[in-house]
């Protein structure tokens, strides 16, 4: 169903809250993967708030949709999304990276409920998604398997092993999203290892691909709602995003993959949040 303006505003508000969780968690601990978490925030907001069938009272519900954050370093966005969906209290964000925290620098399913798979080493997620998707097909079930990968992650060979498997096995219950923010630690992704032909590559591997604007809630929603794009084919959404989206001084800046907030940046980051947050002040 198409989103109403009210629902769009609601999801945008949730996305704002997730950004606030990410930024405050980094400020509180003193560092964190802010840039990559902020680029995928709007995608996770749409997935967790509106698209995925989840059960906050029983995170292991057999009828739930599955989610794998293959680029595990974007986990602050996942933790924020789990908070906004109601799995956890917002206070958990203040424990990020602390001793014995449930929310370390990469998601750990043995620690936090609502995490389907622990991730951290890039290139594992699509295989896990294939296993889940194949298993669901064997069981005759219709749950979907959502996976979010990074564009830099596409350099991992194991991604392509799994990409071939998914199409060969007609796994149209897989919905992959690539958060294409165009940057990785060492520079522009296209300069480190070209990813500008991702659509063609996945199409050649037998996937059905759509490219969207990754910060436009309605567009993200429309794309996620129209899966599978083609019957018997896995779906990929390439979402063009901005790294560090929401931090004015850091947007599209390669130096903020891992943010180590300086005092003046903390002040600016909170100003940025305040300006955007005014919209919901009286909500």
């Amino acid at each position: 169903m198409k989103l109403t303006p009210e629902k769009i505003d609601y999801i945008e508000h949730k996305a704002y809250n997730i950004r606030k969780h990410i930024i405050e968690a980094c400020i509180n601990y003193g560092d964190g993967h802010a840039g990559p978490s902020l680029s995928c925030t709007d995608i996770l907001a749409v997935l967790f708030i509106d698209i995925m069938n989840l059960n906050i009272n029983n995170p292991k519900d057999e009828n739930r949709d599955y989610f794998i954050l293959s680029a595990g370093h974007k986990c602050l966005a996942l933790y924020g999304a789990l908070v906004e969906r109601g799995f956890e209290q917002a206070t958990i964000m203040q424990t990020y990276n602390q001793l014995n925290a449930l929310i370390p620098g990469h998601p750990d399913r043995n620690k936090l409920r609502g995490i389907d798979f622990s991730t951290g080493s890039l290139g594992h997620g699509l295989s896990l998604a294939c296993g889940l998707a194949k298993g669901l097909k064997l069981k005759g079930k219709h749950n979907k398997v959502y996976i979010l990968m990074g564009d830099g992650e596409q350099g991992e060979g194991s991604v392509w092993e799994a990409a071939g498997y998914a199409s060969h096995n007609c796994l149209d219950n897989i919905v992959a999203v690539i958060d294409k923010n165009g940057l990785q630690i060492n520079g522009k992704t296209n300069e480190v290892l070209k990813t500008d032909s991702l659509q063609e590559r996945y199409e050649a591997f037998g996937w059905e691909v759509k490219t969207i604007h990754g910060h436009y809630i309605e567009g993200i929603h429309d794309a996620l709602l129209s899966v599978p794009f083609k019957e018997k084919k896995p779906s990929l959404i390439i979402a063009n995003t901005i790294k560090s989206k929401g931090l004015s001084f850091a947007e599209n800046n390669v130096n903020y993959h891992h943010w180590d907030p300086k005092p003046e940046e903390v002040i600016q980051a909170r100003k940025d949040l305040e300006i955007i947050g005014k919209r919901w002040e009286n909500v």
């Binding site: 399913r109 043995n110 389907d116 798979f117 622990s118 951290g120 080493s121 290139g123 594992h124 699509l126 295989s127 896990l128 998604a129 294939c130 296993g131 889940l132 998707a133 194949k134 298993g135 669901l136 064997l138 069981k139 060979g157 194991s158 092993e161 799994a162 071939g164 498997y165 060969h168």
Partner: protein, 318 residues
């Protein structure tokens, strides 16, 4: 004594398990036939997951399947499973504690004619560092069947190190009841203790026969389970003998012997321990028995080594 082809035993056991447990899946990396899964696949085509030649992907797929309650049994030539896909095994099977059964087809020097790419003398080393991983090294037909059945019954990751060449029964199967985590006495004796695993148990037994014949009372203890190791038995035995020898068709680096050494090093008044195995890096290629013999891993050579070591110790008691 019966001589069994390990692959045939594995194949018939997997088929039998498949009829009893409909959650069991056979996962193949173009390895189904070679690994002994063909009969299962013929009987249960819907429970056959062919991944193709992509071991890293296959291990991840197994983790995903296990999350849904399936019990994936993945059988692949050992180095490709345990080393190429090591990180997937570590993260997605071990740390994630998923109920996946990893079968290394051809442990040790099983593929001795194919060179170091196919030999697996480091697989125990890498698998034993993985949390939650149980390691079973069967050494005859009885143990191959038992290892697979025990692995399926066990809730959690298991690595089975499959032998490849025909194996004589170590003991009458009717007299045995091997379980995970407990060693088994094969030969009784009170001077020398040989601790062996997998294919080396039969060789150790042959060595013990020779030693017992010449008056050196030798006990053989079978550690089919390399992890979790039978600590209770080891501590109990470590002061009762004049010498302890460990034997494995594996590198001396970080295998069974080193696990035992790590465990016993802090025990007071323990018996000296000697690790028999392969020096770092397999260098020989050739027929299996001949290569084993070159590495000193046949009954005769093990007995010789024990005699030589004992003689040296008598001449240099300090």
């Amino acid at each position: 004594m019966c001589k069994a082809n390990p692959r045939n035993v594995f194949e018939s056991t997997l088929l039998d398990i498949g009829t009893i447990n409909n959650q069991v899946l056979a996962v193949s990396c173009d390895s189904a036939k070679g690994a002994g899964m063909a009969s299962f696949i013929k009987s249960f085509p819907d429970r056959y997951v062919e991944v193709g030649i992509s071991e890293q992907n296959a291990v991840g797929i197994c983790a995903g399947l296990a999350e849904l309650g399936f019990i994936p049994v993945i059988a692949v030539i050992t180095p490709f499973l345990t080393m190429r896909a090591y990180e997937q095994v570590r993260n997605d099977i071990g740390y994630a504690n998923t109920n996946v059964k990893l079968v290394g087809s051809g442990g040790g020097l099983a593929y001795s004619t194919l060179g170091s790419s196919h030999e697996a003398i480091e697989d125990i080393s890498v698998m034993k560092t993985i949390p939650n991983m149980t390691i079973l090294c069967p050494g005859d037909g009885y143990e191959v069947e038992k290892a697979l059945r025990l692995a399926i019954e066990h809730d959690g990751p298991v690595y089975i190190r499959m032998p490849r060449h025909a194996l004589e029964d170590i003991k009458e199967p009717e007299s045995r009841n091997i379980v995970i985590g407990e060693s088994e006495t094969i030969v009784n004796g009170n001077e020398v203790l040989i601790i062996a695993t997998g294919t080396m148990v039969k060789e150790a037994k042959d060595a013990a026969t020779k030693l017992n014949d010449i008056g050196i009372s030798t006990r053989v203890e079978n550690f089919m389970t390399v992890k979790p190791i039978d600590k209770i038995k080891l501590v109990e035995l470590c002061r009762q003998f004049k010498a302890i020898f460990t034997v494995e068709e594996h590198s001396k680096v970080a295998g069974l012997g080193s696990s035992i050494a790590e465990l016993l090093v802090s025990e007071k008044d323990r018996t000296p321990l000697h690790i028999l195995g392969i020096e770092e890096g397999s260098k020989l290629v050739g027929p299996y028995r001949e290569v084993l013999n070159e590495y000193g891993l046949t009954g005769d050579k093990i007995a010789e080594m024990i005699l030589k070591t004992s003689a040296n110790r008598m001449n240099n008691p300090s």
